[in-house]
Subunit: 446 residues, 2 copies
Amino acid sequence: MVGMSRVKPLSGFPEWSPSERVVEASILATLREVFSLHGFAEIETRAVEPVERLAGDSDAAKEIYALSRLNEEEKADARLGLHFDLTVPFARYVEEFAPHLAFPFRRYQIQKVWRGERPQVGRYREFYQADIDIVGRDVLPSHLEAEVAIVMARALAALPVPKATMHINNRRLVEGFYRSVGIEDVAGALRSVDKLDKIGPDGVRAELAGKGVSDTAQDAVLELAKIHSSDSSFVSAIEDLWTTTFTTGDSDAEKLFADGVAELAALVNAVNAAVPGTAVADLRIARGLDYYTGAVYETFLDGHEDLGSICSGGRYDSLVAGGGFPGVGMSIGVSRLVSRVLSAGLATATRAVPSAVLVAVTDEDSRPASDRIADALRERGIPTEVAPSAAKFGKQIQHAERRGIPFVWFPDAGEVKDIRSGAQEPADPATWNPPAEDRRPRIVSS
Amino acid sequence: MVGMSRVKPLSGFPEWSPSERVVEASILATLREVFSLHGFAEIETRAVEPVERLAGDSDAAKEIYALSRLNEEEKADARLGLHFDLTVPFARYVEEFAPHLAFPFRRYQIQKVWRGERPQVGRYREFYQADIDIVGRDVLPSHLEAEVAIVMARALAALPVPKATMHINNRRLVEGFYRSVGIEDVAGALRSVDKLDKIGPDGVRAELAGKGVSDTAQDAVLELAKIHSSDSSFVSAIEDLWTTTFTTGDSDAEKLFADGVAELAALVNAVNAAVPGTAVADLRIARGLDYYTGAVYETFLDGHEDLGSICSGGRYDSLVAGGGFPGVGMSIGVSRLVSRVLSAGLATATRAVPSAVLVAVTDEDSRPASDRIADALRERGIPTEVAPSAAKFGKQIQHAERRGIPFVWFPDAGEVKDIRSGAQEPADPATWNPPAEDRRPRIVSS
């Protein structure tokens, strides 16, 4: 029906087989359920935004996929691009729908996003993100910074993945510290420290020096980045560092620093009280993005640290320019996670098809009788299909086997066979039930 | 956080408020459930295909959105475009995954598609489609043409919309008849007849004349298009027409015609036996697309015929070029349907947020006690949120009202209040349940 040439996968655009899709769909359903239980409403936004809105952050601009209608050049000022995250569209949505929303507005959003990156291992050009945000009107209490972290920790704990550890820092703490050691371009310094894993301490030093940061300030910044603890003991390490560091005596910066330390300690304790063993205060977490103003989060899976952060976010002073919408949010890179679950065999689907039962067909004339049995089972929520042809029963059982359907129903005998064990028993379509674990496809952790 | 200018909706890219999204999500969930109960496995395909694959059908080409990376011209032969339906990507998916699929392969697919149409009322540039197809390997029994129609009829009957009527025709019948009256360009004639509603009988005559169709053949074609019935009585009307029509005596064409008549009669009877009052044999249904070779379907909602067909499809000889994958499928235009449900007030959400309960906070020091109550409720599947601030209880109740949350829990009193009735009663978070209809947001038909 469609002109076909050779078919090959497109690098960076993952697709799953039906049984792999069962795993992905189960993971998405779990996220939806945890988010819903915590009062987050779902929204979806259109896939496109005006390019000039998307391109606001110049780093992202080169990754944007711009659209044009084939055979027609649209005017440049009307150009649309595919969203590369769910934050930009959410900001626009809040601005557009604000009169209809009750604040603090709690939303989750699970959609695909697109990035025109050069394809490389573990980097996708199309992938699912799952975001939660809580956005206030003018004010946003700081306990909500703990809440989004707790909700995400619970969501990750409900997935078939190893334990997740959330590394948390505080932008006020960092900014207060950086300013106190005489750094003027705090955002620039943060972007350099964010590369610590990639370019190492010497690389960071070189970048900082290029940005006019003094040697002693470089020392202080790198010492700060070494501090981490899973409770508030990091506070004394920070105090030790502070007392041995030259500071400018800027009292605003010092207050920012002290407030940040207290906030971070409270946040880590609150998250660990709710989901023990989850949170670590980690002073090296920088997050490249300029707009964070409080807590910043990155999350790593035990034994899968090579994946990088699978769930990141932070607190921001305003979702929209002009202010007035402070919020806090986190985002899971779902496709990367699903890909790892599949490639590492962390979970598999019990079957690729919904059907628990294949109703056999004795001959084509009696197909309506098989259809009636199937309908009686479906009425009671048991996914069922009818054999496509009245082949020999052996062939029909083979068909069920190939599709992964566990039960075959024989209408004339009035019996149902578990084709895995071979056990066959009389059954009434109005009352028979498969074992609960066979009713729907499930995923099982390995 | 993002550079903001004026925010305005983009014509053709619908977005829903949170309570409207509850309606859309409920409709999508219903479709998934009906499709699953009938043994259709879900797949998702990437949003993009190579442009040359999409552009195979020249009519669609001008509607394709092509992608380019901003600030970088990609080579024309590597160009990607957004899919405009789910059939082209499904065909490619089947070809790519064939070794891993068990045939007949039954799949459903619910995704957004994009069409760069000129925006006009009821036409979207981004919208959800929900497709089911059954694809065989080399053979596909004709009873599956009834099955997809029955599944779609049941899916539509489960939605909050008026009764749907499915108009069915058969391409073999039409082709046999057209060839018997001397029409050579059957596909061209079909495309003209497909415009009957738009350009009227005289317009169709003029087009047919331009394609070399004789006056008597034009008469016959327009007479055929008038025939319809909700049972097999259309057969005698067709036979009457046949006896009064000049035919060329082409015996292959006559056999095709006779086979098509018998298939259509059997199909309409089978669908109406399963879902009474659904199917009408309607000999004017043409479907512009060339690839259909058996049953073709269009579906209209009673009282909403102005929407056009909301669920269309047909049988085709091969999903992929080169043959070997006969199938039958239908597609629902979900966004158009949701839009009508919302604008006509056919259904509304009971609330916009998942939360059934807002746990009040007496003072910030006792917030952990409120959190514990919320967690106890969530444990038992009751969506719950905790008040964002320890304001006066009156304010907290107002907050619940604005968010549409029906119950407020008072931790100190150990009581829960239905804020709609004002009724308040002692409650234990380990055992209390809201009425079943309040547990989750639902949609109610009006």
